[in-house]
Symmetry: C2
Subunit: 160 residues, 2 copies
Amino acid sequence: MNASSPFFSMKERYFDDLKVGDRFQSEPFEVAGKTIIEFAEKFDPQKFHLNAKSAERSIFKGLIASGWHTAAITMRLFVKTLNFAEGAIGLGVDELRWPNPVRPGDALQVETEILEARSSRSKPNYGIIRLRNVTTNQRGEIVQTMTAAAMVPRRGQRDY
Amino acid sequence: MNASSPFFSMKERYFDDLKVGDRFQSEPFEVAGKTIIEFAEKFDPQKFHLNAKSAERSIFKGLIASGWHTAAITMRLFVKTLNFAEGAIGLGVDELRWPNPVRPGDALQVETEILEARSSRSKPNYGIIRLRNVTTNQRGEIVQTMTAAAMVPRRGQRDY
């Protein structure tokens, strides 16, 4: 983090800054059709993610983003919103669901709620948080839900 | 799918081709350090994913891939191995874990096991499968585990 970063003025967070019940709302992020196709070509080459024409003939009646693309965008928004000073180490994810598809031009936003916050038993310089991320589109429809656990450094503990 | 596809000669699968206990092993896929950084810049901008130098000073003592990158690579290998004729629609993922980090040059492979296979109650042209994907590196260390549910078309049912 330095003066050239767009996040220079944002608060950097440590485990100590979080408590159960805290909620955070990300900025919106627009998903271009081109990036849906690029992601699919690399990681999820199925016809409803790859090509608008063949996607028309699928159950979705048009191009939709891979669920893993939605998950990756959600991570981006989560990381930028929470702005952990020393990062957050993902331990695991549960109940990852995609109740509605993401389509070209959709603007996604993530709401994060802290569900648990406790000390790490094995690593005293870290805390463990459990959180819920809900990703919605510009119409307020939920496109992804998940819970996750992550290990987050405590303030003033850089010698981990 | 056509003659120009590298998968022309591979068997295309429908729901009807799968049964509980079936196992599939993917080809290996090498993870270049460059792609770890590219993915991180787009989706998971944290220092242990972004830059080899700053990653040296992290708990991982070197660059590691975002867990979401590992998940996306796993999807690629799963899709290419199972080769569903009409795609597989992800319904949800549980117990996604990353027990060991993925580092530049690692060669990942995915083993898929079919845990359940049943008819869809709401969509008679589809079946629902539940599966477990285990992703390992070239040393046989497990880098990701997950279970997933997906909706897969039945053979001869293209009018969905």
